[in-house]
């Protein structure tokens, strides 16, 4: 079967989740829970298998382009509906389908209390999301990428608003979509710009556009800067960076597995994927790279400080996600695209693990999300406890957990970019370790602080939930070993080697091994210290009522939401209201009606002539005759 051989099997990867979406979407009223779960997880497993197949058969070197059909072909503009298979997309395919599969399995238990049709709806959305995400990473040009980009935004919107009866959730869904659209607009303009200059949106045409293949460049320096900035603004929307990050914490309104899949592991990393994909452009725009690095760093720091004071288990994880995404942008900005992709990968595993773990906790507590009302869950939820610990260690960056390697690579790249960046990044990493262990200790350590009836119902989650946890825990440990730095193991950085076809290995800055060891030791030591501080601070639970202006500032998340509200939303709202209730009816329509009113007024006046008195009519007639005669005889001479 030709279809099942490489590369055509790649078509199956997005089509399978689409099939799952169609079956579940159309048959959600007729299928049982079990059937839905099996179909969805089944298509994901198959898609994962197909991705694996693609991954192993991937030829080295030039990417494989699969063109399904012409999407838009007008004149010089040719946008094929094509997929690009290369190291980068194959890697993302594996992550998406793999984690996607695990989360589907997990969801089958987590969402079990929903009615069959809601259950079907949930899985249909989830499958649709995976489909869109796969389009995003497989697309061979910016337009297909954009299709997936908007698609994941839509699914994110649908899933955040899954429990639509709660107006706040629906509002959060709207917010997410709209903020994403802001970024999308910039992305779109970047695409138009690219089309205007090069007439092509294909990734494989980028080197040509840059003039690296023996041709003169089609893009001027200004074009490159503009396009990359716009693309980056697009990425800040999707990947929740300053200034468009505030939707992500609100997006926690969705079911927890959704947060794990979409708002931690996959969708939010789309921005990193996109920039890594267009790394050639970014490398040619050093100014923009610096901007990316600064924004990433600022976001990382900002989100980390906010996470320090959050009490909602998912909110902490959400801010930590924002912060980690900031790290990835820092890496991108430092030119370390591989490190960014590496961190995407490790982060996908450990953050999915953490989210699923928190889901398990929430599930056990019957929907409780406030960590002040948790504690002492270690005994009742042993699997969750251990896997969560692994996740925390991974995110904190303890050797040999995966986070260590990826974070270390990022810190190193930041150091190469500027020691100041390094210092701030390191500080952020310490904060990360601190708030993660604060979360961990408050949740699992100490004694239970919840209600009595919750205590009775405490139970470990079913196997369908714990199995993904365990698998992810294992992966969170081992996945980092594909990118062991050169200094620890010769040829250990297999990831960079693997990606070298897509992302040229940067040469130039090299640091001595001693420096590298020192940086590694410094960060590890400080992180351990920070964990210890957290442990000593929170091993005995005390309420954190000590209000200072700083803590209040952090509690209110730097008042960013309020600032946006006051600076953008409210004025816009008021402007719209003014137009609707004043400008439109009074001025514009008023002008239209005014014409009518003037005519009516004049006719009212003229109506007095029409008194009904025949005598008057005769009088007017005579006057008219006189006038006409006068004109006729005296004026027209």
């Amino acid at each position: 079967m030709a279809m099942l051989s490489f590369p055509h099997i790649a078509y199956l990867i997005p089509l399978l989740p689409l099939l799952g979406f169609l079956i579940n979407g159309l048959g959600r009223n007729h299928l049982s829970h079990r059937a839905i779960a099996w179909i969805c997880s089944g298509v994901m497993a198959l898609a994962f298998a197909a991705s694996g197949w693609v991954f192993w058969n991937l030829p080295a070197g030039a990417p494989t382009i699969l063109t399904a059909f012409d999407f838009i072909r007008v004149g010089v503009l040719n946008i094929p509906f094509a997929f690009q298979l290369d190291a980068l997309s194959a890697l993302f395919l594996l992550i998406i389908t793999g984690i996607g599969f695990l989360i589907h399995v997990y969801s089958s238990a987590y969402m079990h209390e929903e009615s069959a049709s809601q259950y079907g709806r949930y899985f249909a959305y989830l499958n649709l999301f995976v489909f869109s995400m796969l389009l995003l990473v497989m697309g061979a040009n910016f337009v297909i990428l954009f299709i997936g980009w908007e698609g994941v935004g839509l699914c994110s919107y649908l899933l955040i608003g899954f429990w639509f009866r709660n107006p706040a959730y629906a509002q959060a869904a709207n917010k997410a979509f709209v903020m994403n659209r802001v970024g999308d607009l910039a992305f779109l303009i970047a695409i138009f710009w690219l089309i205007a200059r090069t007439g092509s949106v294909n990734f494989i045409d980028l080197p040509m556009a840059l003039g690296t293949v023996g041709q003169s460049a089609k893009l001027s320096a200004m074009d490159i800067t503009g396009i990359t900035i716009l693309l980056f603004i697009g990425a800040t929307g999707k990947s929740a960076q300053i200034p468009l990050y505030t939707w992500l914490p609100d997006a926690m309104a969705g079911p927890t597995p959704v947060s794990a899949l979409i708002h931690a592991a996959t969708m939010v990393t789309a921005g990193i994927y996109m920039i890594a994909r267009s790394n050639l452009l970014y490398t040619a725009a050093p100014l923009v790279l610096t901007i990316v690095a600064v924004i990433g760093l600022a976001t990382a720091l900002l989100a980390a400080t906010i996470a320090l004071r959050q009490n909602d288990i998912k909110k902490v994880l959400a801010y930590s996600t924002v912060s980690q995404l900031g790290f990835m942008f820092l890496a991108l900005g430092s030119g370390a695209y591989v490190a960014a992709v590496f961190h995407v990968m490790t982060h996908a595993f450990f953050k999915a693990l953490l989210f699923l773990g928190s889901g398990s906790v929430i599930h056990a507590l019957g929907g409780e999300q406030d960590i002040r009302k948790m504690g002492g869950l270690k005994k009742s939820l042993p699997i969750t406890y251990w896997t969560f610990l692994i996740g925390c260690l991974a995110i904190a960056g303890i050797f040999p957990f995966s986070g260590f390697f990826s974070k270390d690579a990022i810190l190193l790249s930041a150091f190469l970019k500027s020691p100041v960046f390094y210092a701030i990044a390191l500080f952020t990493a310490l904060l990360t370790a601190f708030y993660m262990f604060r979360l961990f200790i408050l949740t699992f350590g100490g004694s239970f602080r919840g209600m009595e009836e919750q205590r009775h119902h405490l139970h470990e989650s079913p196997l369908a939930m714990t199995l993904p946890l365990m698998l992810l825990a294992v992966l969170s440990v081992v996945v980092g070993w594909i990118g062991i730095p050169e200094v620890l193991m010769h040829g250990g950085d297999r990831l960079a080697e693997f990606l070298s076809a897509v992302i040229p290995v940067a040469s130039g800055h090299e640091v001595s091994h001693a420096t590298e060891y020192m940086l590694m030791g410094l960060s590890s030591g400080l992180v351990l210290l920070s964990i210890y501080v957290a442990w000593s601070r929170y091993k005995q639970y005390r309420s954190e009522e000590s209000e200072s202006s700083l803590t209040r500032f952090l509690d209110n998340k730097w008042y960013v939401d309020e600032a946006y509200q006051a600076a953008i939303v409210q004025p816009l709202h008021r402007l719209a209201g003014w137009i609707r209730s004043f400008f439109e009816p009074r001025i514009l329509d008023g002008a239209v009606q005014g014409v009518g009113r003037v005519v009516r007024y004049l006719s009212q006046q003229i109506r007095f002539l029409q008194s009904g008195q025949t005598g008057n009519y005769a009088l007017w007639m005579v006057i008219g005759i006189v006038l006409i005669l006068s004109i006729q005889f005296f004026i027209r001479k």
Binding site: F69, D70, F71, I72, R73, V74, G75, V76, L77, S117, V143, F146, I147, E150, G151, L154, Y157, G161, F164, R165, P167, A170, Q171, A173, N174, F177, V178, R181, V182, D184, L185, L188, I189, F192, W193, I195, A196, L572, H573, L575, A576, G577, I579, R580, S581, E584, L588, D589, V592, Q593, G596
Partner: protein
């Protein structure tokens, strides 16, 4: 022959329906007529695609020099397909609605279709004007007899407003007619005039105002929300799905090729108006509580984008192929979007009608929670609403994508401003659409929305057709682009005004 058939079928069918003695047979008969028109279009596109079958020419009003000339170029074919489709959807969508005097209602509806088809196909300015008014008059009766509470005032406003435009256009037509050497109203004769700049500058406005009012373009739009709100929804469906396209089609056929310099001179102003209109209408839509008005404003915004793209196509190419290529891209976007927006907005009206008739209100604030009680409605609504805001893989995306490209390539120093302005419309459209979805479907149900809603077979069929078209042209827009490609290329070459430089 096909072209004549397309005009005659609804005209005669409308007459038959109008004088039908029994109300029971009205809907099947009008559906039959509408479907047969659609079949005729499909036949014309497949079996009888030759230019002969799409042309018709006969003596008409000899003293005036007016001829009954129908000429189905690709634009005409494309839009008469939309008109036929709109008519079918309109009949299907109101299949279960009882109305007083249905004979008159559906008869007028079909006549309206006939008028619009004449506009789309005519190659004679007098015939064009005739069709333009023929489409308007049934609309007047339909809304003044079957409309809502404020129908009389609103209908008068609608009629007078559009009529003012028409009269201005008539003046322009007569003026051009007087200039033709053989006293003809033929398109080709007008085209051959190649007027000097000083005349085009003011003649342009005579035509433009008529078309802008029809589209409608900011600030000539105030008739539209009122009208759409008051008019019975099957009529609104035709009005906004097809009739407003008449304005754009008229610009494409009678404005850009004939008064090309006038268009070029004013293009900055026009694009600016269109872009302001996008933002303006979108902002109003954000604060709109009435579902039908909201859809009306969204329609204004989207048509604004189309018009902006259309007027970006004008200018000098200096015989550079590249510029023409980008004009081609933009024009293809306009062509695609004309059809797509028609389909989408018709879908929106079908749903709005159903919601209003089922729950007795159009106020978003009085709806809510329908996602739970009416899931099928929700799915249709979300799909169509998202198509309306041009989500990728729906039909509006390729169209708007290409249109934005056109704006980016406009020969105007302000093109970046225009691009960003119209781009902001994309964000605003997301805001109002999602708000609308949230307020209708999310949240808790109330007493009105507690009982959901089921679709009849006819309605489900109509909506499925809409969704099918949305997905077809969303996933494979090339089908439409291939259809219009050759015509579009000839067209953009013909509106290039570089030839005036060499004169």
């Amino acid at each position: 022959m096909i072209a004549l058939l397309l005009v005659l079928l609804p005209l005669i069918g409308g007459g038959l329906v109008f004088f039908l003695p029994r109300p029971a047979a009205v809907r099947p008969l009008s559906l039959l007529m509408a479907l047969s028109t659609l079949c005729a279009v499909v036949l014309g596109l497949t079996l009888y695609a030759g230019i002969d079958s799409w042309s018709f020419d006969a003596e008409w009003i000899q003293p005036l020099g007016a001829r009954f000339t129908l000429k189905g170029d690709v634009l005409g074919k494309w839009m008469s397909m939309l008109a036929a489709l709109g008519s079918v959807l309109s009949v299907l969508g109101s299949w279960n609605t009882d109305r007083k005097k249905p004979q008159r209602f559906y008869g007028l509806l079909l006549w309206m279709q006939a008028g619009m088809t004449i506009v789309f196909l005519s190659a004679d300015a007098f015939l064009f004007y005739f069709g333009w008014e023929l489409a308007l008059i049934p609309a007047y009766f339909l809304s003044s007899i079957w409309g809502g509470e404020r129908r009389i005032a609103v209908t008068i406003k609608f009629f007078l407003y559009t009529f003012v435009g028409s009269v201005l256009m008539l003046i322009g037509l007569i003026y051009l007619h007087g200039l033709t050497p053989d006293g003809s109203f033929q398109w080709q004769a007008f085209r051959n005039l190649e007027l000097e700049e000083s005349k085009q500058v003011w003649l342009f406005w005579l035509f433009f105002l008529a078309f802008a009012i029809k589209v409608p373009l900011f600030p000539f739009h105030t008739w539209q929300p009122d009208t759409y709100e008051q008019v019975p929804t099957p009529v609104t469906l035709l009005l906004s799905g097809v009739m407003v396209k008449m304005g754009v089609v008229a610009m494409i056929r009678w404005l850009l090729p004939i008064l090309d310099i006038g268009v070029f001179i004013w293009s900055d102003v026009l694009i600016c108006l269109a872009v302001v209109g996008i933002l303006y209408a979108s902002l109003i839509a954000i604060r709109q509580d009435d579902l039908k008005r909201l859809i009306a404003y969204s329609s204004i915004a989207h048509m604004g984008l189309t018009v902006a793209a259309l007027f970006s196509l004008t200018g000098f190419s200096n015989n550079s192929n590249v510029v023409l290529q980008y004009h081609l891209i933009g024009f293809q976007g306009v062509m695609l979007q004309l059809f797509s927006h028609g389909v989408n907005i018709m879908g929106m009206w079908l749903l709005a009608d159903r919601i209003e008739s089922r729950f007795g209100t159009r106020k978003l604030s009085e709806l809510g929670g329908l996602a739970r009680t009416a899931p099928t409605l929700t799915i249709f609504f979300v799909v169509i609403a998202l198509a309306n805001i041009a989500l990728p893989l729906t039909n509006a995306f390729p169209g708007e994508f290409l249109q934005f490209n056109a704006i980016f390539h406009a020969q105007s120093p302000y093109r970046i401003v225009f691009l960003i302005g119209s781009g902001l419309g994309v964000i605003l459209s997301a805001i109002y659409t999602l708000n609308m979805i949230r307020r209708i479907f999310y949240g808790e149900t109330n007493s009105a929305t507690e009982n959901g809603l089921r679709f009849s077979i006819a309605e489900a069929l109509a909506l499925s057709v809409v969704v099918g078209l949305i997905l077809l042209f969303g996933i494979y827009p090339q089908a439409a682009l291939d259809f219009t490609n050759e015509y579009a290329w000839e067209y953009v070459k013909s509106i290039d005004i570089t030839r005036f430089l060499t004169k």
